[in-house]
């Protein structure tokens, strides 16, 4: 048993607060008008703060501030950091330069996806891995034989996403000199209150945007710095409902919403290989061994993968959330995992998992059956669905370098 420490005794009191506040909680509480909270990994997180419609438009027309502190974070450090992460994750980490970020995923030995997330290379031998679920035992076990340390730092590091067309202007106004030089997926450190804040040009909205990470104790001063700078740039705090619309327009998937992670799948057939959830592009079979490599290579060779994740454009304007997908209006071939009417694309969009060959070689004559509850009656609609490329919207400002000053 670990030695009895005062830290262990102090931590006893957690049972009195089942949903933790994040380091930004005083600011969020002050802005909270809807009292619309949800549970994000044990944190009290806002689903909306004042108006979920307007919060969405803040992302697309102004600058939206979203607290991402509950995201699970690991610090991975050591001379073998790159080799270790190459062993664990799908993409080639040798190609990830210091000061860059990439979106990646990792699998168990059977090739089933454990999670997806973003990998930040903070220094040649220092990384941060951000994700939805918790993986410390998996990371530690995979680290055996590597000169690397893995530390869970979710509570210690505060995170903010600042997304929207005026986000760069807000940051510049706040005095983060040179932030406009960051290209998409670049990161850099900036001084703040005697400490440092890491700013990356990343996000979950498909828009121009940045993510900021700072030690928890600097959180409130960082928030205030942005808030003040954003006064004339329309800065708004937002909740998850707004963000979820933006991410769907961007065609991005969410673990345990659009696919079931391997460590949580109670039903063994619910697990997915990267290719089955649209992450096949990450798999680098040339880089050497990684967890799940053999299984994925074998499944590809045998053509045994059974599912495919696609973007759908559905006729009409009624969202098809969790609708069943049919071929020729008869044969059930899949399920919609997320769907909205896209305010930007002005289209009815969805993400769906289909059973091959549907979505793979058979892509025509697809339909979704929408059960729309309207005043205690289901209005049943059978609507034509077309497979379309993701993202559903493409905004030049997301990648423009330097970003335009709106």
């Amino acid at each position: 048993m670990p030695k009895l420490s005062s830290a262990r005794l102090t931590a006893q009191s957690h049972f009195r607060t089942l949903r933790l506040g994040t380091p930004f909680q005083p600011r969020i509480d002050a802005l909270m008008k809807t009292n619309d909270w949800y549970d994000w990994g044990g944190y009290r997180a806002p689903a909306s703060l004042w108006d979920e419609e307007l919060e969405y438009f803040a992302i697309r027309s102004q600058a939206a501030l979203f607290d991402i502190s509950p995201m699970v974070k690991y610090r991975i450090e050591g001379p073998d950091g790159e080799d270790f992460l190459n062993r664990v994750t799908l993409r080639d980490v040798a190609k990830l330069k210091s000061g860059r970020v990439h979106y990646t995923a990792w699998c168990d030995d059977e090739g089933y996806v454990l999670d997806d997330g973003t990998l930040f290379r903070l220094a040649p031998d220092r990384f941060r891995l951000c994700c939805q679920e918790r993986h410390l035992p998996w990371l530690l076990d995979s680290a055996i034989g590597f000169d690397v340390s893995v530390l869970e730092e979710t509570e210690a590091v505060a995170g903010l996403a600042l997304q929207g067309p005026t986000s760069v202007a807000v940051l510049r106004e706040a005095g983060f000199a040179g932030v406009e030089r960051l290209k998409v997926f670049d990161l850099a450190e900036f001084p703040h209150e005697g400490g440092r804040v890491t700013i990356s040009r990343t996000g979950f909205t498909g828009d121009l945007g940045y993510e900021l990470f700072a030690p928890a104790e600097l959180a409130l001063s960082l928030w205030d710095r942005l808030w003040k700078a954003g006064e004339l740039r329309g800065i708004r705090a937002i909740g998850y409902t707004a963000l979820n619309r933006a991410r769907l327009e961007a065609g991005l998937i969410v673990a345990n919403a659009d696919f079931v992670t391997a460590e949580h799948a109670i039903r063994p057939d619910r697990v997915r290989m990267p290719d089955e959830i649209g992450l096949g592009f990450m798999v680098d079979l040339e880089k050497g061994h990684f967890n799940g490599r053999r299984a994925i290579a074998q499944a590809r060779a045998k053509g045994s993968m059974r599912h495919v994740l696609v973007g759908l454009e559905i006729e009409g304007n009624i969202p098809a959330e969790h609708a069943i997908v049919y071929h020729k209006q008869k044969k059930e071939v899949g399920l919609v995992s997320a769907a909205i009417w896209s305010p930007m694309a002005k289209r009815n969009i969805a993400l769906a998992s289909l059973s091959r060959p549907y979505g793979d070689t058979i892509t025509d004559d697809l339909w979704v059956e929408i059960y729309a509850m309207r005043e205690l009656r289901y209005e049943r609609l059978m609507k034509r669905a077309r497979i379309v490329p993701r993202p559903f919207i493409k905004l030049d400002r997301r990648t423009a370098s330097p970003p335009a000053d709106f």
């Binding site: 262990r8 957690h14 933790l20 918790r134 035992p137």
Partner: protein, 539 residues
């Protein structure tokens, strides 16, 4: 002379469940009970004024919701109050709590190990997968693999299909689960002693094996089984003690026209021409019936109540060798105030759950070593609850009833019979362990009931005081429970059936053996079973 349609021996929970279903099918059923009260091991008795004890079983966890519904137990007064947590006290003055909230549970583990805190999801997934495989078998008669009857073949196919439905990795896990020790199993997930001890206790309760003995991983599954089909409030206290379960069953039985006779100890099952005809009571009275159903354990039924000459030799040998070893005792304590545990904050929900003092698997195993040597554990494993923190009906205001399940406790002390002095010394071992963590504990004690295997056998009738009427190791489950060829509640004697925990799916206050036996009996009588709800779906 009256002839009953069916006579059930023993008014324990399974006997009463069985009797209820038969009575509701239109049979005229008599339940005979040797004690002056009913309940068997699901009993509440007042042994000191103002206090009510759950004398044997103490929590309601596995009772099948299908049975509660069919027999209208809520209508007949059964209320189950959910647990709110639990804790293992550690020797360094801290504790490890179990909280119902997923994230609180993780944060609690993180106090001891950041790694173990994040290992729980995978552990829960694997245990849940195994439970989902086994759970649907609880409410089905186990197939007879030697029979070619269509029903047995289709049941075997069902089993095979479910097994084949597992992935290759799960199949391997299943076989490992059925055979490995709980200690080895937990080592694959966790690194911290107290966290492993916290889970290991479910692998040894009621079993004469140590946490390092092969086969104990399955015992853990048996305890988790209640939860996989979304049975809400799976763990809790029956309001009024465990006797409230059997009281509700008895009221339901009587309301449907059934008859219970207490103070009627059975001397022998009357067998003529290989068929059961009724019973002879201890006072010589004979009672006649077309069917006799025994809720007593398989050893008591066939080694004490049926003449040997009526039974096949191989059956007898297997009954004799059926493992039903006494391994636990029970100490019930009336307290004049709520004990304090300085390690535990006063507002902790753990007071309203189960508390333990064994903070390592090693300590549990050493406790088992004592049992093997024929002694009770000097440092026993306690499952301690204070039901009166949630149920005010069992003690006067401000006073409390504490139940301590104690393991290990041998059926004989170093080969000789238990004496009253042994029993008192055993009770003292338990009190002194609690007092180590709770200053002033002794001064709060108003009354105590100490029960070793001797008392449990003499009063409840459980052979060696084994709470499960036979250990739940995989060699004694499914079509091997209790004896190969007799796993379908029938016996070598026509008209004599079994319905106790010795039969599939085994022990715990579950009711499934009683219900499944009733289904088989009604099938033999070509009677309908429309009054029995089908087992819950597991999808």
């Amino acid at each position: 002379m009256k002839k009953w349609d069916a006579i059930v021996i023993g008014a324990g929970h399974n006997g009463l469940v069985n009797a209820c279903y038969l009575q509701r099918a239109g049979l005229d059923v008599l339940v005979v009970e040797k004690n002056d009260w009913i309940g068997g091991a699901a009993v509440s008795r007042s042994l000191t004024p103002g206090f009510l004890y759950s004398n044997c079983s103490y929590v309601c966890s596995l009772f099948r919701p299908e049975i509660m519904r069919d027999l209208e137990l809520p209508r007949f007064g059964l209320q189950v109050i959910s647990y709110e947590g639990g804790a293992v006290f550690t020797r360094d003055g801290d504790y490890l709590a179990n909280y119902r909230d997923h994230h609180a549970h993780r944060r609690e583990f993180a106090r001891f190990s950041a790694r173990d805190a994040e290992a729980y999801d995978r552990y829960a997934r694997d245990v849940t997968r195994q439970c989902r495989f086994i759970q649907p078998l609880l409410m089905r008669t186990a197939p007879d693999p030697t029979s070619f009857r269509p029903r047995d073949i289709s049941e075997l196919l069902y089993l095979g299909k479910k097994f084949a439905g597992l992935g290759a990795a799960e199949m391997a896990d299943t076989l490992r689960f059925w055979t490995m020790s709980i200690s080895d199993f937990l080592d694959e997930y966790f690194e911290t002693d107290v966290i492993k001890a916290n889970f290991a206790l479910s692998g040894i309760i009621g079993t004469a094996l140590g946490p390092m003995s092969p086969g104990t991983a399955y015992v853990l599954l048996h305890h988790y089984m209640g939860e996989v089909d979304g049975s809400v409030g799976a763990w809790g206290y029956a309001r009024g003690g465990m006797g409230a379960v059997t009281k509700a069953l008895a009221d339901s039985f009587r309301a449907s026209g059934g008859t219970i006779r207490t103070g009627a100890e059975v001397e022998q099952v009357l067998v003529r021409s290989g068929k059961a005809r009724g019973l002879v009571l201890a006072d010589g009275e004979e009672i006649y019936g077309n069917l006799v159903i025994s809720n007593a354990d398989v050893k008591r039924t066939f080694l004490k109540l049926v003449e040997e000459k009526e039974l096949p030799e191989i059956f007898l040998r297997r009954v004799k060798n059926f493992k039903m070893r006494g391994s636990s005792g029970k100490v019930n304590i009336a307290l004049d105030s709520l004990p304090e545990f300085p390690a535990l904050p006063k507002d902790s929900p753990c007071y309203r759950g189960d508390m333990h003092f064994t903070d390592s698997v090693e300590r549990m195993e050493r406790g088992y070593d004592d049992w093997k040597a024929g002694r009770w554990s000097a440092d026993p494993f306690l499952d301690m609850v204070i039901p009166t923190t949630l149920d005010p009906t069992m003690a006067p205001p401000g006073k409390h009833f504490m139940s301590c399940f104690v393991q290990y406790c041998p059926p004989k002390v170093e080969g000789r019979d238990w004496t009253d002095a042994d029993r008192d010394a055993f009770g003292e071992t338990v009190i002194s362990q609690i007092a180590d963590y709770s200053p002033g504990f002794r001064d709060r004690i108003v009354h105590m009931e100490v029960r070793t295997p001797r008392e449990l056998e003499a009063e409840v009738g459980l052979t060696e005081g084994n709470i499960f009427q036979g250990e739940l190791t995989f060699d004694q489950l499914l079509f091997n429970r209790p004896v190969p060829g007799y796993a379908q509640y029938r016996s070598p004697v026509d008209g004599l059936y079994m319905c106790g925990s010795s039969t599939h799916p085994g022990g715990g206050v579950m009711g499934a053996p009683g219900r499944n036996a009733a289904a088989e009996i009604l099938r033999d009588l070509s009677r309908g079973t429309k009054h029995m709800s089908p087992a819950h779906d597991v999808i």
